[in-house]
């Protein structure tokens, strides 16, 4: 079973342009929402149970209700399109192929929040996408959905696209705001939260692309109906960008009731592992979240089927679970080396650390160098404990979550694959030419079949 709310029209010819988008029901959510008051819109979003799709999963309606509304001070909505979490490429797909869906969601959200200038902050490397978005914005404007006095409500709104210039940290909302102000992307100390003091000191809401796109189906079907899709607090649908060693990498929309096993092996989704290889491990929610060995991926430690949703993926905490995160689903087959893979992630976080907090600035580089030694056969057994110690001292000790994001992948790799690290130390030469054997990482499916 697959419910599609965001990508249902993705294959319609010309859907990237206004005419086809409008003919297929586009902008109906704006017509509906503009008959409501901003407060009613926020209530509707609360009812939907929508949670932020950028990674943190914070309830969107609640975030909106925190927005301060002092007299005579402008408020801003900023769309976070700085998608940079390794394994994640879903927002790119939405913006590239369904730009009007995002614009429509932005108009409804801007109206709800009272934002007359709304910005889309997009990562600089997606250099061809601003043209697509700006074209869609222009089309929307020509047709009266943006500009002055939209639909006779007296509400004015302009949407602008701002390109970043290469910095993962700008996905963190206060770093993004700094960057939008023309500064280095150094996260701010909170409080004050952006809802009180954000862009140019004004109350600001920052939401992910997918979150804002999901506003459209919520108003088309109603918040209560939206909340009926999914399980528990995982309502609606989620985009998953699947990559790594699978037959069908790509962006998939799931309702959050399917099992992880189905997602990996079904031809509707990842289509299994290429070349008859076995599954070794998976990072289910973008590179920051804990890696899981195959035996904990399909079933929780309690032996329950693990589902593709917020609660089930995090079942067992960090000891035996992971997180939904941004939906960046990275699959590793039996030929992959956990030490090498962890090294690339540690290098990534070191490169992306803004340098503001010393535990992160120094710690990420230190972890990278220790992992480098381990990977290239120059490690000691005590290095594994050293790595554990470093990551423990970064986590929770930084202004923004980049420190945690850098610590978690290293911690999880050691937690679940310690013997592979040890094998690297004890077999320095052999580890250069082949990977550690599979043993208990055997594919859960192998047992079942």
């Amino acid at each position: 079973m697959s419910t599609k709310l965001l990508l249902d029209k993705a294959n319609i010819e010309g859907i990237r342009f206004y005419k086809a988008y409008r003919e297929n029901g586009g902008y109906a959510a704006v017509e509906k929402a503009f008959k409501m008051t901003p407060a009613e819109i926020v209530e509707e979003v609360k009812k939907s149970g929508l949670r932020g799709r950028g990674g943190a999963g914070f309830p969107t309606g609640m975030k909106w209700s925190f927005l301060a509304k002092p007299e005579g001070v402008p408020r801003y909505l900023v769309c976070n399109a700085d998608e940079s979490e390794p394994g994640t490429f879903k927002d790119r797909y939405l913006m590239e192929f369904l730009p009007h869906l995002l614009i429509e969601g932005l108009i409804v959200s801007s109206f709800a929040l009272g934002s007359n200038r709304t910005y889309i902050y997009i990562r600089g490397e997606y250099a061809w996408i601003p043209d697509i978005l700006e074209y869609a914005i222009e089309e929307a404007k020509q047709n009266g959905w943006l500009g002055k006095n939209i639909l006779g409500t007296g509400f004015d709104c302009e949407i602008y696209v701002q390109r970043g210039a290469g910095a993962y940290i700008c996905g963190e909302e206060t770093a993004l705001i700094e960057s939008l102000e023309g500064k280095r992307g150094n996260p701010r100390i909170k409080p004050p939260f952006p809802a009180i003091k954000g862009l140019w000191e004004s109350p600001t809401v920052v939401n992910n692309v997918e979150t804002l796109a999901a506003i459209v189906p919520i108003f088309n079907m109603g918040g209560e109906e939206y909340a009926k899709i999914g399980v528990g607090k995982s309502t609606g649908t989620k985009l998953i960008s699947a990559c790594g060693n699978i037959n069908k990498p790509g962006v998939y929309e799931i309702d959050m009731t399917i099992s992880v096993e189905e997602f990996v092996y079904s031809d509707e989704y990842c289509g299994g592992i290429p070349n008859g290889k076995r599954l070794k491990a998976c990072i289910p929610g973008g590179s920051s979240v804990p890696i899981l060995p195959a035996n904990l991926l399909f079933k929780t430690a309690k032996g329950e089927t693990r589902l593709m949703n917020y609660e089930s993926l995090s079942d067992g905490g960090f000891a035996t679970g992971s997180m939904m995160g941004s939906g960046g689903f990275i699959v590793l087959d039996e030929d992959q080396c956990i030490v090498r893979h962890t090294l690339t992630l540690a290098r990534f976080y070191h490169h992306e650390s803004c340098g503001q907090c010393s535990p992160c600035r120094e710690g990420t580089g230190w972890m990278k160098r220790v992992l480098y030694n381990l990977e290239y056969g120059k490690g000691k057994l005590s290095d594994i404990d050293l790595l554990w110690d470093i990551q423990r001292r970064i986590e929770g000790n930084t202004i923004c979550p980049l420190g945690d994001a850098a610590a978690w992948p290293v911690a999880a790799a050691i937690r679940h694959f310690r013997d592979e690290f040890e094998w690297h130390v004890l077999n320095p030469e052999e580890s250069q030419v082949r990977n550690f054997g599979l043993a208990h990482y055997a594919d859960a499916r192998e047992v079942a079949v």
């Binding site: 394994g87 490397e125 250099a127 960057s179 699947a242």
Partner: protein
């Protein structure tokens, strides 16, 4: 003397108009992109000083931003900049082999430029194309699902483009 073209100057005005009065510093990142494109693919100090002047901010405000973001080049690069992703998801799909292939094919190391000034090889971190790995950025666009054959074709394409435009 460093001076934006008429067209770019208009673009700068258009960008500044996106922000409230007095918040023109917000235009810095987009304007540095324009400057890098127009003034030879990198940001020399006089170029940054010029940007500071047109945005009415101090030069240090430009330097600290230019050095923070990885897309700004702080030294000259070749006409074609190959930025190959090497992060986890690309590594799983063979980016190490692609990087080695490009090194051998062009006879340069990472961070180096070919003697004819045509190609620079840079390794970068995740560009958000994990499902289409291995990949690289070339100018404004992504080249995805790279294979040695595809790399050869890209190099040839760049060479003939350069020959026609010289």
């Amino acid at each position: 003397m460093i001076q934006f073209s008429e067209k770019s100057l208009l673009k700068v005005q258009e960008i500044i108009a996106r922000y409230p009065e007095g918040k023109q510093k917000s235009a810095l990142i987009p304007v540095l992109h324009l400057a890098q494109e127009e003034f030879g693919g990198w940001l020399d100090v006089p170029v940054m000083d010029y940007v500071a002047e047109i945005l009415s901010i101090t030069p240090i405000e430009v330097y600290e931003v230019a050095t923070f973001y990885s897309m700004y080049n702080m030294k000259p690069v070749g006409k074609f900049l190959f930025e190959v992703c090497q992060t986890g998801p690309c590594m799983l799909r063979g980016s190490d082999d692609i990087i080695n292939y490009i090194k051998t094919r062009l006879g340069i190391g990472v961070g180096e430029t070919t003697d004819d000034g045509l190609f620079t090889l840079k390794v970068v971190e995740c560009l958000g194309a994990c499902g289409y790995a291995p990949m690289m950025q070339l100018g404004k666009h992504y080249k995805e699902h790279l294979t040695p054959e595809k790399v050869d074709a890209i190099i040839e394409e760049c060479r003939s483009f350069s020959a026609i435009n010289n």
